[in-house]
């Protein structure tokens, strides 16, 4: 009960300040849409090619935007000693971690949805053949990004290392997730008569559960360090 209340309080606080200033969401949405545009300049205006590359581009955009969102989410805590204060409130460390994770997850999910819609317009994508699969992939993929992203952002906030370290540490860790998401998304968009997306979705599930439990196990140590 206590745990849920803390978690909700942290999410509520983050979302409230986000609603008030709309700093993070606006900047990452703008960034995401801008990159979609840039891709078509870099690759050329052939819709067929862009269509073929769409799943990969989609996830790359999400990865880059996620880094921006993660940076922001911990900047607010690191300034003015808010993170120290949170730790001293004697709330559960896992509640703090999960609270931050949840808002990050929400941001990534929103960006993902908006970017997909923009891609459907700009790259002339067809309506997804397997919409429920796509929703599942988005949820699992974004959860994985948010989990490891929150872990690494916290790690870097604790050291006051430069923010450029975040993608350097995070992206190599997310390579399996990227592969799984891209292929599964491709099948979900183009149809999947042979259920080839199945193993990739299973891998996403395994990835998420391993890292979510590992991060929750070590979150306390990280916050107290």
């Amino acid at each position: 009960m206590n745990f849920i209340r803390c978690l909700a309080a942290i999410c509520h606080k983050d979302l409230l300040s986000e609603l008030r200033k709309r700093e993070t969401l606006n900047s990452i949405l703008f960034f995401g849409i801008l990159i979609i545009f840039l891709f078509s300049f870099a690759i050329g205006p052939e819709t067929a090619l862009l269509k073929k590359l769409a799943p990969g581009l989609l996830w790359l955009v999400v990865l880059f935007s996620a880094v921006l969102a993660l940076d922001r989410s911990f900047q607010a805590e690191a300034e003015e000693g808010c993170l120290d204060r949170l730790i001293l409130y004697s709330v559960s460390h896992r509640a703090i971690f999960l609270g931050k994770l949840f808002t990050n997850f929400l941001f990534v999910l929103i960006v993902q949805t908006v970017v997909l819609l923009m891609m459907m317009v700009l790259y002339d994508l067809d309506v997804p053949k397997e919409p429920w699969n796509l929703v599942l992939i988005f949820l699992l993929g974004d959860l994985g990004i948010a989990t490891l992203g929150t872990f690494y952002a916290l790690l870097i906030t604790k050291t006051r290392a430069r923010q450029v370290m975040l993608p350097l540490l995070l992206f190599p860790m997310l390579i399996p997730l990227l592969l799984a998401c891209v292929f599964a998304t491709q099948y979900a968009l183009e149809g999947d008569p042979f259920l080839q997306a199945r193993p990739w979705i299973e891998m996403l599930f395994v990835f998420d559960s391993i890292f979510l439990s590992a991060c929750l196990l070590t979150a306390g140590l990280l916050l107290e360090a």
């Binding site: 206590n2 409230l16 607010a76 003015e80 949170l86 409130y89």
Partner: protein, 227 residues
């Protein structure tokens, strides 16, 4: 049950290759008000952070409120309030929301009436609905004071309590300190300005370069150790 609120021995704190504190011992009984004096960089804030269980000392140990400072940090935190240099307020939230957040997360019901009362006491009633990004440092400090007033701690740590406050704010801070003393709370005030804190205290500790230079009656501090 136990009149010893703080009992620390042999505390040393190392940051990378520099000792912030060397071999500090500190004993405080219930109801004590101790001033910690010393020039900038002598380790006052570090000592307060250790007492707030924000830092785990490199060596040494002891108890706060009867709980071990290494094992039982969660229980200590329930009884200790710490006001540091970094106030830990969220800039985008209003004053009232900041107080509400700390109440909710500590497991108290955020009664609007009580929040208003606390804000009135520190003179922030008129600006309670404004985001604190527009507040001055002094106003933020008053807000953090209100946050402590909403809690019922046993042990209060104040790092430079009078810094950044105007004359009225300083009187307010003194009044709060006097009230806490009357209520039998244990207080620790760190400051480099002994004129402000010594009249409030009944014991004084002088630190110099991370070591204790003097501990005892504030009236008898030898002039050689006051800087």
């Amino acid at each position: 049950m136990n009149s010893r609120v703080v009992e620390l021995t042999g505390i040393s704190q190392r940051f990378a290759t520099h000792w912030a504190l060397r071999d500090i011992g500190l004993v405080a009984n219930k109801g004590d008000c101790i001033a910690i004096l010393g020039p900038n960089g002598c380790g006052k804030s570090t000592l307060l952070k250790i007492l707030a269980t924000l830092l785990e000392p490199t060596t040494g140990g002891g108890t706060i409120a009867g709980f071990d400072i290494r094992q039982n940090t969660l229980k200590i935190r329930n009884q200790v309030e710490w006001l540091g240099h970094e106030l830990g307020l969220y800039k985008t939230l209003t004053a009232e929301e900041n107080l509400k957040f700390s109440c909710v997360i500590k497991g108290r019901k955020p009664l609007v009436k009580k929040l208003r009362e606390a804000m009135a006491e520190v003179g922030l009633n008129a600006v309670g609905g404004k985001p604190i990004a527009s507040f001055s440092v002094g106003m933020r400090k008053r807000l953090s004071l209100a946050r402590i007033l909403l809690e019922s701690p046993e042990f209060v740590l104040l790092d430079e309590p009078h810094a950044n406050l105007d004359r009225e704010g300083k009187t307010l801070m003194n009044r709060c300190i006097q009230n806490w003393k009357k209520g039998g709370l244990t207080l620790l005030l760190a400051s480099h300005d002994h004129h402000e804190v010594l009249p409030l205290c009944d014991k004084a500790m002088v630190l110099n370069q991370g070591r204790v230079a003097y501990f005892g009656d504030p009236k008898n501090i030898p002039s050689s150790v006051i800087l």
